[in-house]
């Protein structure tokens, strides 16, 4: 019923195609003001108190678009925000048509046994961009290789790395938060892509080169890794 009430506010979504059903949000593809668009809809959570739920959902939506703007201002590529509807909690974003996820790119490069130099320059680029993002005090909250897209620009230019899904992002200057951000990526990276320990080290090295604040973050990353390991030994 609650889902239907949200749908009544945004009947347009009936005409879009659902591409992802998550726990917090649904992602659709459609056309908006004539352009290919990704629509992210946060739906009501029935187990939460309605007023509280509304507040939390609003806050998340606001945080997501603020982080996107903050990144863009710093020169980090993200999809353009076209429109935000705070009544149905929908965000309308530029659809990066023809892009592929970094996840798929790494997987297919590994499969085809392609030149590992290409992947290491990608890892370096990732480290550089994450350093820039953290220097803006944006913590992504859900870094994975699926939340990074490669957009092919002009013919011979190297593809542009675009960060997506700031749904769990927040603003923080704490090295701990940034360290956890990298830890989440490390876990996702190494479990998604086998035999990439060296590649991930490249990423961290480039991160360290690119940010003056990196030593404190890497120190926290080491601590979080240790905690994670201890927990798994106990657990």
């Amino acid at each position: 019923m609650a889902l239907d009430s949200n749908r009544a506010k945004m009947p347009y979504l009936n005409k879009c195609s659902l591409i992802k059903q998550g726990a917090e949000a649904r992602v659709y593809r459609g056309i908006f003001l004539g352009k290919p668009t990704i629509i992210k809809e946060r739906f009501p959570k029935l187990y939460r108190h309605a007023v509280l739920d509304e507040k939390l959902t609003h806050r998340r939506t606001v945080q997501e678009v603020r982080s996107i703007l903050r990144c863009r201002k710093a020169g980090i590529s993200t999809p353009v925000v076209y429109f935000v509807d705070y009544t149905s909690h929908c965000i309308f974003l530029e659809d990066l048509v023809g892009s592929i996820t970094v996840r798929d790119h790494i997987a297919s490069s590994q499969e085809s046994g392609q030149d590992p130099v290409c992947l290491s320059s990608l890892a370096e680029e990732m480290g550089k961009i994450l350093a820039k993002m953290h220097d803006e005090d944006v913590v992504h909250g859900d870094l994975t290789t699926s939340n990074m897209l490669l957009r092919q620009g002009s013919e011979d230019a190297k593809p542009d790395l675009v960060l997506i899904d700031f749904g769990l992002s927040f603003t923080s200057a704490l090295p701990e938060d940034k360290g956890v951000d990298l830890y989440v990526l490390e876990k996702a990276f190494l479990s998604t892509h086998p035999n990439t320990e060296q590649l991930f080290q490249r990423l961290l090295k480039s991160y360290t080169h690119a940010s003056k604040k990196a030593p404190a973050v890497i120190k926290k990353l080491d601590e979080v890794r240790l905690r994670g390991r201890k927990r798994s030994m106990v657990g």
Binding site: K15, V65, G75, V80, F83
Partner: protein
């Protein structure tokens, strides 16, 4: 010449954009709009990068009208307000509305789809030359826009000026 679009979220509405240069009677037009003789938003074309910017402002204006959240008194003034990066209403009119000595005018009409827009009456009121709406970029003052929207060179390395403008328009209520 004019550009008519429908809005996916509000399929009952149409938006028509008309662009005029060598305009001699901007003051009169502005007066007409205030008296309700011109049912449209009269915009300073130098602040517009692309017709898409107008569609984003119009879609948002209708959305805010339907949800009872408009900040100004009419749909047309709301379109002008939505173009501005700040929440200051009088500044929005000053920068994005037309001034009496302007030599070019961008007219935006929003109307129910089943009613034909009264395009000929607008065209006959404007003492100027109508040019295709998608020629707006020839009148854009990019330097002024960059300054007003505070677009840094580093932001332009990863997107166009239009991208920067659209993002600020979309997010301004919470930024």
């Amino acid at each position: 010449m004019q550009l008519t679009s429908t809005l996916e979220l509000y399929p009952d509405y149409s938006v028509t954009q008309l662009l005029f240069k060598d305009v001699k009677n901007a003051a009169e037009l502005r007066k007409n709009a205030m008296e309700g003789l011109v049912q449209g938003a009269l915009i300073n074309p130098s602040m517009i990068v692309d017709p898409f910017q107008i569609l984003v402002a119009s879609n948002k204006a209708i959305h805010l009208q339907k949800t009872g959240k408009m900040k100004t008194r009419s749909l047309f003034s709301e379109i002008i307000y939505n173009l501005s990066p700040t929440n200051n209403i009088s500044e929005a009119f000053k920068r994005f509305g037309i001034s009496d000595d302007d030599g070019a005018v961008y007219v935006v009409l929003v109307y129910p789809k089943e009613e034909a827009a009264d395009i000929s009456s607008i065209v006959s009121r404007v003492k100027g030359q109508q040019i295709p709406a998608d020629m707006i970029s020839t009148l854009t003052d990019a330097a002024k826009i960059k300054k007003l929207y505070k677009v840094s060179p580093q932001e332009e390395t990863n997107g166009s000026l239009l991208d920067a403008v659209i993002c600020r328009m979309a997010i301004k209520d919470v930024s």
